[in-house]
Symmetry: C2
Subunit: 407 residues, 2 copies
Amino acid sequence: MSLVVQKFGGTSVATAEQIHRAARRAIREKLAGRRVVTVVSAMGDTTDRLIRLAREICDAPPRRELDMLVTTGEQVSIALMAMAIHAAGHEAISLTAAQVGLVTDSAHTKARIHSISAERINRELDAGRIVIVAGFQGIDPAGEITALGRGASDTTAVALAAVLDAEVCEIYTDVDGVYTADPRLVPEAHKIDRISYDEMLELASLGAVVVHSRGIEFGTKYQVPIHVRSSMTDSKGTMIVPETPGMEDIVVRGVTLRRDLARILINNVPNRPGLAFEIFDRIAQHHIVVDDIIQNVVNGGSEVDIDFTVELDDASETKAVCEKLASEMNVGTVVADDQVSKVSIVGVGMRSHTGVAARMFRALAAAGVNIENISTSEIVISVIVRREDGEKALRALHSAFELDKGP
Amino acid sequence: MSLVVQKFGGTSVATAEQIHRAARRAIREKLAGRRVVTVVSAMGDTTDRLIRLAREICDAPPRRELDMLVTTGEQVSIALMAMAIHAAGHEAISLTAAQVGLVTDSAHTKARIHSISAERINRELDAGRIVIVAGFQGIDPAGEITALGRGASDTTAVALAAVLDAEVCEIYTDVDGVYTADPRLVPEAHKIDRISYDEMLELASLGAVVVHSRGIEFGTKYQVPIHVRSSMTDSKGTMIVPETPGMEDIVVRGVTLRRDLARILINNVPNRPGLAFEIFDRIAQHHIVVDDIIQNVVNGGSEVDIDFTVELDDASETKAVCEKLASEMNVGTVVADDQVSKVSIVGVGMRSHTGVAARMFRALAAAGVNIENISTSEIVISVIVRREDGEKALRALHSAFELDKGP
């Protein structure tokens, strides 16, 4: 008998009516003869509300206690979901991570899954029940309650799908799939029918957070097809699947814009071993994430200019950290530019097509967009542009790679 | 090293400020050199809110799922309490029932404690931590989450105090102790310094619900001194302790009024074996609690009148049940009187003093209160009176037994 894992995010179980709707979806699959496991997130903004409550009590709550607190949100949801299925006349049982045996490491607030036991779930499925598992939570080998980190109910769902050998892992959310670009910025954007794990991972890291990255990584590792779809309609969404040869026919799968970035430039750093490490180590100590690092040799090789991007919110702190460091070492000057955005194109087709970068730069030039910086990886090309050019650049690339023509 | 168990009810942890106050009490005991275990209820009206949420989803939620749902309230509280202690610079750890090993039977929504393991708690205490245990919840031998029933955080606290051999179990609440009568009705009422378990049990069952009955039963069984006191002040409250010989010097410890009762009278029931059983069995099937049952033989022994009280809210349903039964059996008439109250006097001194009932009836007569019915047990005498006489009767008895003179 085939098995389906359905995951309902917080926006899909925010009200009693939405919980009933999710319950009906689970029941429909059951009536179609499938074994059904659902993974549920905390209702609506519950997790944020709990974290606010914690901050009212304590500026820096111990992470263990934070996990003890926030995992209650999912426990509420699974109980209500089981009740909704019961109200509709069907059998269901809710299970916490401890009851499932979803074991993680002990890194509270960002724990990673070590193992999942299928035993209890299979026993309940054999008894004809719909099984409802709490997303986001785990238990460490010592029996401590852990949380997998924000958005990690996706991870729970895909990991369960892998362990249970599910036919598909359905991620129900408030959008109806993954788009070639953000439809709010590019009206011509269309829904992507099929996308590879690698492409989806890149899109997710570039801001298209429809499915959480860790979930996609699990999908990749265990080859679980992931179906991202709307909880409000019955239309098909986007299938995230293993890459097939035909996928490379499409040069670019999607384009993205990360709007609010800042670019930090450290000029005239002596070109000696270890200095770059010192700079980025110091920034990391402040829990600031950096990206798009570029280093240019200047002054005949005696010095380098180091250039990178950070989230706009982190710009002033990063600048202060770098200035302090520069003054300690008595080297370089620090410049922060808080008016930049990043535009990227993503596609496995880049591997087999040539001239993709040239085509990208030509389109941007034709649109009158100046490129400040370029970075590339195997299936991504990103450029840093002035923030006022961001949306124009995005639309130009969407059109240049013929994404507005539809599938 | 002496050990104290402190229990904070929902009204004592309803806000961040109250949680901090509770945390300070725990820390104070710790700094005084004691080992401290606190038991915490759900914040304010959380449990009611969760039950309302369940009813929105399902008219008759499965009890297992109800327990899964409502036990989250205590999990939130213990995490926040641990954070508050941490914020004040001390070490604390929160533990769920599963983590403690508080094992109950499988009677969801009203589970009973089977056993408690002291191992984990002692390990954390040995490490110098204040241990915070979730009240109200348990885990059954199969690992299912259970709830002990409303008000049962008291039970958790006293049971823990028994297992850990605590010096005292402190119950912090929104009143400052147990009173000789409800101070809202009898302004002369005063706080009782010491009361025996038996007296407290009777007072609790007669409506003075300062400590939950099951908690007192645990106290009796394991001889745990229980200190009921206010979470708002530092003044001493009421000690609930094993009975001592001196206690019998006081004839009456307290007086109570149960205001909203109804009296059901079934007349002319044939006096044959089994009929009383049939009547009360039928009522019990409707989950109606009856009290003060009296049976009088009439008509030279051929018939009996049966008389009992129920909660006012249950009056019309009880009358309907009895009328249906009377019509099925073609016997008797049913009369419901929904204008009665019950006034009781409670005290272990009744065992050794004579003439207590006479003194009670004289006082009521002097106050012009008519007695409709009398029932007695070893340390309680109760009378049924007209509702409009209830408070007058209460005050007359409080004065007649010299309770307004203070300890």
